[in-house]
């Protein structure tokens, strides 16, 4: 089935939030909104001054005193203010909101507000321990220990006896790896429209906009506006990309627009332009990961000792769960009896980092897979053999002691990727090429990895997701979920699933616009969970609808389903009529209660997770993948270019070939950008290169065709056997490309992005240059033993 809304998008008919015009239904003209932000990374607000040259009566002005409820954006820690009241923790922190009918007047007004902030000492490097005056979090902890300052979350995974295994090791290999931040660059910037319906105590705040999670936004509005759910309605509009950037961040915009709309009693439109979006929105967490690995003489893993530090930025946002996914994926898809992982995310005074496709796993898998190549190099082993010998087999357990028994042939994934890439032929060809070519160097590298789909641990149980499928009077059905379409194909896949389940043609399946007043909460559209988990609930709701119609599970055709739905409604109308005739009260004609099939999440049997000890079944299912990158480096320009890319994955079941392939190809290219070009210039903890001119994402001319293959091994608890794939392709490109560059240049890169500047340092190292990594910093090392044998950033080069 082709993308259902595809023709509307290709001909410009699809309406996004900035294409909608707030109505002028007696409430006056719609207003545009703007945000006045901090220019200081950390400090105390002394005063806010309004330039008297501006007629401020023409503006709606909102500050923290206009917030009816709690001044926090509801999320994990409830620590981030909606609008800074007395202190700021990062540049671009919102302080004041303005609204006016004219956008140009608004731009002038933003510049006419002067916010005087007394600066305090900021932190821009989480690897340097904070001075006492820099401590901003954890200070109220009764047993404050050294090293706990500013730590938002700490996680530990322990399996076996790591120290004993190190004592018996034939080889010990160390390495520290760093990854940079990344901006989502969804092509549609953040935006919402807020308006008020009704009057007085019954009025309803309605926010429509570009978002992944309408119920997150509703919850945040309820807390900040001190309103019941019935008085806050959130509607997702067609969303031009998300990648995690519209998971938690739109909550803040929604509150801002709602505050202005409440004060103005008029519709308010808040749309960021690209510059503001790049500067102020969340990004991928920068990371530093240190591996210390014990191996036997044949290269079998004996113990993995892993330290992870993530820069969380100024507020907690989703950092603890990003860290969690990073920690759980850090040991890779390998068998190892003894594992110790320590992770922490730490406050800095940078613009807060947040959800981004992969959610911590790309960072730790970069370190893991780069480290596997380093191990192979140091032990003189073939990098493929090293991975094969340690690859998880059915019956083995992961770092969290989750026993893998899914029947997947993980080595077949490696086989197919190597065959498609021409791995061995190319390795030989590159040796010849590099020996004769004066300026160009070629190399090939791989990454073997996994990605867990759905919320971590007990997360799906807590979400308690619900889905409904309504039978409509005309015999069609409507799928009611909160799952948002942001390009990944939710509308099309849910249409397919419901149509297949009920035997109906696709055009007889409607997909409801996610609207908190109409759809049940099926959870957020994140964590590669939509097709696998919510899709499975759609199937079960279809089954429930059949049951309610008295139809058997399989026997009845689509025609029978349609007839039964129509008959149900006719029968219902008759009963309504006769009950009206009986009561004769000429009563209010109530709209028909819907004919609903319903489903609620049930954890697959036998899935156990211990959140205290971080042990057990972290995910219901993992997708397994091997990616191979071939690169060419130009020694004159120091630029690296991916010239071939192969992505092979076992994803349970392919629901839609074109959509699945598109997800993988798009994710790989986003990964190529992260690996090679998407570099940040930080100024006072904020993005200084906040323009697409100098924050460089790949164009069509920068990347090759991404060659994709799928293997199937149906997962019994996913829709039609599918496992989640949305985030998977973000994990592999970073390490595969770095490994290919290592092979091309005989260097040992430890960080991405590998921009020409970084490559120049690798190829022609300046001896006295400080390592860009922080493995020399005690902050990274939780235990004294871990500092022993620490290497510089460029071992082997």
């Amino acid at each position: 089935m082709k993308r259902r809304e595809g023709l509307a998008k290709l001909t410009g008919r699809e309406r996004y939030v900035d294409d909608l015009r707030p109505s002028v239904d007696g409430r006056g003209r719609a207003l545009w909104a703007a945000t006045v932000r901090s220019s200081v990374a950390r400090g105390r607000i002394r005063s806010v001054r309004f330039d008297p040259a501006i007629d401020w009566d023409a503006f709606v002005v909102v500050d923290h005193r206009d917030i009816p409820g709690r001044n926090v954006v509801k999320l994990i820690a409830d620590d981030q203010p909606v609008l800074a009241a007395d202190r700021v923790r990062h540049v671009h922190e919102p302080i004041l909101l303005l609204a006016h009918p004219s956008r140009s007047a608004l731009r002038r007004a933003v510049r006419a507000v002067t916010i005087d902030i007394e600066p305090e000492s900021p932190i821009f490097d989480v690897c340097v321990p904070p001075t006492p005056e820099q401590v901003q979090h954890g200070t109220d902890h009764p047993h404050q220990e050294p090293g706990q300052e500013n730590v938002f979350k700490r996680l530990a995974v322990d399996k076996g006896d790591v120290d004993a295994a190190f004592a018996a090791a034939a080889h010990i290999v160390d390495g520290t790896y760093a990854t940079g931040s990344q901006e989502h660059v969804y092509l549609e910037p953040q935006g919402v429209i807020a308006h008020i319906e009704g009057e007085g105590d019954d009025d309803v705040v309605v926010v429509s906009g570009s978002m992944q999670c309408p119920f997150y936004v509703q919850g945040a509005l309820m807390m900040a506006l001190d309103r019941e759910a019935e008085r806050v309605r959130v509607v997702q509009t067609s969303t031009g990309g998300g990648f995690g950037g519209k998971e938690e961040f739109p909550s803040g915009l929604a509150i801002h627009a709602a505050l202005l709309a409440l004060k103005a009693r008029r519709p308010v439109k808040l749309i960021y332009d690209r510059g503001e979006d790049l500067e102020a929105s969340t990004k991928r967490h920068p990371s530093w990961v240190r591996h210390r690995t014990a191996l036997d003489a044949d290269g079998r893993l004996l113990a993995q000792d892993i330290d992870i530090v993530m820069d969380a930025g100024a507020y907690v946002t989703l950092s603890p769960v990003v860290l969690s996914r990073g920690v759980i994926h850090a040991a890779g898809p390998y068998r190892c009896a003894n594992v110790r992982i320590r992770g922490r995310c730490v406050l800095s005074n940078r613009v807060p980092f947040g959800a981004f496709r992969g959610f911590g796993a790309p960072q730790t898998l970069f370190a893991c897979e780069r480290h596997m190549d380093r191990i192979a190099h140091q032990l003189g082993l073939d990098p493929v053999s090293l991975r094969r010998v340690n690859l998880l087999r059915d019956g083995d357990s992961t770092a969290t002691s989750q026993t893998i028994r899914d029947g997947s042939d993980r080595s077949a994934v490696i086989d197919q990727a190597l065959a498609m890439a021409g791995w061995y032929e190319k390795r030989a060809a590159h040796r010849a090429f590099n020996a004769t070519e004066p300026w160009l160097r070629r190399g090939i590298g791989l990454a073997v990895f996994h990605h867990g789909a759905g919320f971590t641990g007990s997360g799906e149980v807590y979400l308690d997701s619900r889905v409904a499928v309504a039978g409509l009077p005309d015999g069609r059905v409507e799928v009611l979920t909160a799952a948002t379409e942001m390009g990944q194909g939710t509308i099309t896949v849910f249409t397919q699933l419901a149509a297949d389940r009920l035997g109906l043609p696709p055009e007889d399946v409607l997909i409801a616009q996610p609207d908190t007043a109409r759809v049940p909460d099926s959870g957020p559209t994140v964590a590669s969970r939509t097709a696998m988990i919510v899709g499975r609930l759609v199937e079960r709701a279809c089954d429930d609808l059949r049951d309610r119609l008295g139809l058997g599970p399989e026997a009845s055709s689509g025609d029978a389903v349609r007839r039964a739905i129509i008959a149900w409604h006719e029968d219902y109308a008759r009963r309504e009529q006769s009950s009206r005739d009986e009561t004769r009260d000429g009563g209010v004609a109530t709209s028909a209660p819907p004919l609903l099939g319903q489903a609620r999440y049930q954890a697959p049997p036998g899935v156990l997770w211990d959140d205290e000890r971080y042990r057990g079944d972290a995910y219901g299912a993992f997708a397994w993948a091997t990616y191979v990158a071939e690169v060419e480096v130009d020694l004159r320009t120091y630029s690296a270019r991916v010239i071939d890319f192969v992505a092979v994955q076992e994803i349970g079941k392919v629901l839609n070939e074109v959509l699945a392939r598109g997800q993988i190809q798009g994710g790989v290219v986003q990964g190529i950008g992260w690996a090679l070009s998407e570099s940040f210039v930080w100024r006072d903890g904020a993005m200084a290169n906040a323009q697409l001119t100098n924050y460089v994402i790949p164009t069509s001319d920068d990347v090759p065709s991404i060659r994709v293959a799928f293997q199937e091994n149906p997962y019994p608890h996913g829709a039609q056997g599918a496992k989640g794939i949305g985030e998977l392709p973000m994990d592999g490109p970073g390490p595969a490309i770095a490994n290919a560059i290592a092979a091309a240049l005989d260097v040992d890169p430890c960080e991405i992005p590998l921009t020409p500047e970084t490559l120049m340092d690798l190829i022609d190292p300046i001896v006295d240059d400080a390592s860009p990594l922080c493995d020399a910093d005690p902050a990274l090392n939780n235990r004294p033993s871990a500092t022993e044998g620490a290497h510089g950033g460029l071992i082997g080069s």
């Binding site: 082709k2 993308r3 259902r4 509307a8 998008k9 290709l10 001909t11 410009g12 309406r15 900035d18 294409d19 909608l20 015009r21 707030p22 109505s23 003209r29 009918p101 140009s104 989502h184 660059v185 969804y186 092509l187 549609e188 308006h195 429509s208 509607v235 969303t239 031009g240 990309g241 332009d273 690209r274 510059g275 009611l480 942001m486 390009g487 509308i491 409607l510 997909i511 409801a512 616009q513 007043a517 109409r518 709209s591 819907p594 074109v658 392939r661 598109g662 993988i664 190809q665 798009g666 994710g667 986003q670 323009q691 697409l692 994402i697 164009t699 069509s700 001319d701 065709s705 991404i706």
Partner: protein
């Protein structure tokens, strides 16, 4: 299922009757003070210029401010919201329209410059025009898509360009963050092949 595509998102009220979503609509702005655009810069004058140009084949007349961008005039005054603003600085190509014979970033074109010229926007494309892009997976989130579709159309109308440039180089002015470009490239190739076949059929 061409026509039902429009109805993929239902707005019928089934689960719980509430006021319809239609309080925000695609209707024109009704912005009573806005006789012409308000300009993208702060210091735009209030003087409006009356310009006439060909828009998707029809003669169109509109009052613009000297500081108005073509993008804003199309979107705000003519209600052609298919053309998107992705970056506002000519990098992303989401706002691509065809001006006379060239694809341009409409965020960088002062509106008054199109006086007497021909402008084609994504609204000029029919479902048939984009069928191959649809089949190949050229659109995901759709935000870059109108620009992609216009550049694609421009290339397909000028296949001789491919004797000197690669398709990937010709498309490099349109950033896409979803597809990884393969779906786009494949769709244009399908289109080029179909056109070639059609021409061969008509001449041979």
């Amino acid at each position: 299922m061409a026509s039902s595509d429009l109805d993929a998102r239902s707005t019928s009220t089934v689960a719980r009757p509430t006021s319809p979503v239609a309080t925000i609509t695609g209707a024109p702005a009704g912005d009573d003070e806005m006789v012409c655009g308000e300009g993208s810069g702060e210091d735009g004058t209030d003087d409006c210029i009356d310009i006439e140009f060909s828009l998707n084949g029809e003669s169109t007349s509109v009052l613009v401010n000297p500081a108005d961008r073509l993008l804003d005039v199309l979107r705000d005054q003519l209600d052609l919201t298919g053309t998107k603003e992705g970056c506002g600085e000519g990098e992303c190509g989401a706002c691509t329209v065809i001006l006379d014979h060239l694809p341009v970033n409409s965020c960088l074109v002062p509106a008054y410059q199109v006086r007497g010229r021909r402008v084609e926007t994504v609204e000029s494309l029919t479902d048939e025009d984009v069928a191959h892009l649809h089949a190949s997976g050229a659109t995901q989130c759709g935000a870059c898509t109108p620009g992609v579709a216009m550049t694609a159309r421009w290339i397909v109308d000028r296949p001789h360009l491919l004797s000197r440039h690669t398709l990937r180089a010709l498309m490099a002015g349109n950033l896409c963050r979803c597809t990884g470009y393969d779906g786009i490239i494949e769709g244009i190739e399908l289109d080029l092949t179909a056109r070639e076949d059609a021409q061969r059929g008509s001449t041979g």
